[in-house]
Amino acid sequence: MCLAIPVLIKSIKDKEAEVEIGGISRKISLWLTPEAKVGEYVLVHTGYAINVLDQREAEETLSLLEQIVGMAEEEG
C-alpha cells in the first residue's frame, strides 16, 4: 500500500521540487517536508514527498544485515 519511491531532489522552487529517479524526472510537492534540501532523497507518494530518507540509517541497516548474514555463515 502507499506506493512511495525514493527520488533525488535536483532543484527546489517555493514548495515544489524537481526530482529524479532512474532517469525519470517530475515535479513534486514539498508541503509535507519543508525541511528537504537539494541533493537529499525523499520518499514520494502520489506526487508529495512524505519523508526525507536518512542516508546514514540506510547504510547502517545494510551494514547490520551484512553482519547478520556474515555471522550466520560463520556459525554455519
Binding site: C2, L8, I21, S29, G47, A58, E60, I68
Partner: protein
C-alpha cells in the same frame, strides 16, 4: 546510495532466510497488515522460502479492499451527476459496487478521470471552472495528508469547484478492533512502513503493551520484509513484545510532524465503515467545519442505489485474516481478475489478486 537496489540484494536475502530458519523454533502466525507488503511477499515468493514454523496471513491494509460498498455506491452516484468530474486514483476504477463500478459509469458517459496526484485534480479544477471536481479521498495515513494539502491549496487558489469525498481510514483503530474481536491469534505484526513514516512508532505501542503482540515497522523492499520477519522471530524466541523500527531510513519514532499537523488541521477522526468489519469508531476522517465547503458529502445530495453485498463473497473474512482466498468458493472460477466479484480480487494488493496472479503456492 539510491535506496532501491541496495535493498534487493539477493545474497543478503538468502542469508536472512537462512538466519530465520536457524532462529525460528516456535510455531507462529505473523500478519502483514499492509497490502504493499503482501505484494512484495508474493512477488518474491517469500512464503515458500520461510520455515514451516511461520504462518503468514494478510491483513486489511488495502484501502481499496476495505472501502464499503455503500461508500463506493455514493461515489458512483456522484459520478452520474451532470457537470461533475470525478478525479480518482486508478485503483478505484474497476472495483464493483452494489450494481456498477466507476469504469462502467465512465463507459455510460460519466466524466471519471484517473490521476496520479491531487495536484493533477487541482489542475483539472482550474481548467474546468464550470464543472464540479470531486476527488475520491481513499487511502490511509500516508495519503490523507496529501489530500489535506490539496484542500489548503484549493483555499489558497480560491477554487470554488474542488471538493473531496473523504473515505480515508486510519490503521491503529482497526488493528485494535481486530485484536479485540479475538478471532485472530497473532504472534507478530508487520506494521505498514509508509503509514508509519507519517504517524511514527508510538501509535502502535498499545499492540505490544496491551495485547503482547510483537511489532516491527517494515519497508517494502525484499530485504526489508526479511529483516522484519527476522526481528519478529527474535522477539518471539526471546519472549519480548515491543515496537521496533526496521525501516529506520524512512521512519522516525515521532513521525512526520508537519504532515500530522496539516492532517489534523483539515480533518478530524470520525466513525468509518470497513468492509467485513462494519463500523469502527474513530477509524475514519471527516473534514472539519472550517473546511466544510470542500466536503463532497455535504455539497451534493445523492441517493445511491440500495447497498447489496455480493453473494458468496468472503472478502470481509479474508480482510480480517480468518480465511484465505483458497477457502472461497468463488475464487478463480466465478471471481477472477476479469470478472471480480469483490475488491480483494480487483485491487493490485488484495489477497485474492495476489493469490491469483502470483500463484500462492502455484496451485489453482
Amino acid at each position: 546510495m539510491k535506496f532501491v537496489s541496495e535493498f534487493r540484494r539477493s545474497e543478503l536475502a538468502q542469508g536472512l532466510i537462512a538466519q530465520i530458519h536457524r532462529q525460528s523454533k516456535t510455531p507462529v502466525r505473523f500478519m502483514e497488515f499492509c497490502g504493499g507488503h503482501t505484494v512484495t511477499i508474493f512477488r518474491y515468493g517469500i512464503r515458500q522460502l520461510l520455515p514451516k514454523t511461520i504462518d503468514m496471513v494478510s491483513g486489511p491494509g488495502c484501502p481499496i479492499c476495505v472501502t464499503a460498498n455503500a461508500d463506493l455506491d455514493k461515489a458512483i452516484a456522484l459520478a452520474q451527476i451532470p457537470g461533475v468530474i470525478i478525479a480518482t486514483f486508478g485503483d478505484m476504477l474497476k472495483v464493483p459496487g452494489s450494481s456498477s463500478s466507476l469504469q462502467e459509469a465512465k463507459a455510460g458517459g460519466a466524466d471519471v478521470r484517473t490521476v496520479y496526484s491531487t495536484m493533477d485534480a487541482l489542475k483539472i479544477a482550474e481548467d474546468n471552472p464550470d464543472n464540479a471536481i470531486v476527488f475520491l479521498g481513499i487511502g490511509f495515513e500516508t495519503t490523507a495528508p496529501t489530500i489535506a494539502v490539496s484542500i489548503l491549496q484549493a483555499m489558497e487558489k480560491g477554487l470554488k469547484n474542488y471538493c473531496v469525498l473523504s473515505l480515508h481510514k486510519l490503521c491503529p483503530p482497526v488493528i485494535q478492533a481486530l485484536l479485540e474481536s479475538g478471532e485472530l491469534k497473532l504472534h507478530g505484526l508487520i506494521c505498514p512502513g509508509h503509514v508509519s513514516a507519517i504517524i511514527g512508532s508510538r501509535p502502535w505501542e498499545f499492540i505490544a503493551r496491551d495485547y503482547a503482540v510483537p511489532c516491527v515497522i517494515s519497508g517494502f523492499e525484499l530485504l526489508d520484509i526479511l529483516q522484519s520477519v527476522d526481528m519478529l522471530v527474535s522477539q518471539v524466541e526471546s519472549g519480548r513484545s515491543q515496537v521496533e523500527i526496521a525501516y529506520r531510513r524512512g521512519v522516525r519514532p515521532e513521525g512526520n510532524q508537519q504532515a500530522l499537523r496539516l492532517m489534523s488541521q483539515v480533518f478530524e477522526p470520525a466513525p468509518a465503515q470497513w468492509r467485513g468489519m462494519g463500523e469502527v469508531p474513530g477509524s475514519g476522517l471527516k473534514l472539519r467545519k472550517k473546511y466544510q465547503r470542500f466536503d463532497a458529502a455535504l455539497a451534493f445530495d445523492v441517493t445511491p442505489v440500495p447497498t447489496r453485498e455480493p453473494v458468496g463473497c468472503i472478502c470481509g473474512d479474508i480482510l480480517r485474516g480468518v480465511k484465505t482466498p483458497a477457502d472461497c468458493k468463488l475464487f478463480s472460477n466465478v471471481c477472477t481478475p476479469e470478472n471480480p466479484v469483490g475488491p480483494c480480487m480487483v485491487s493490485a494488493e488484495g489477497s485474492c489478486s495476489a493469490y491469483y496472479l502470483y500463484g500462492g503456492g502455484l496451485e489453482r
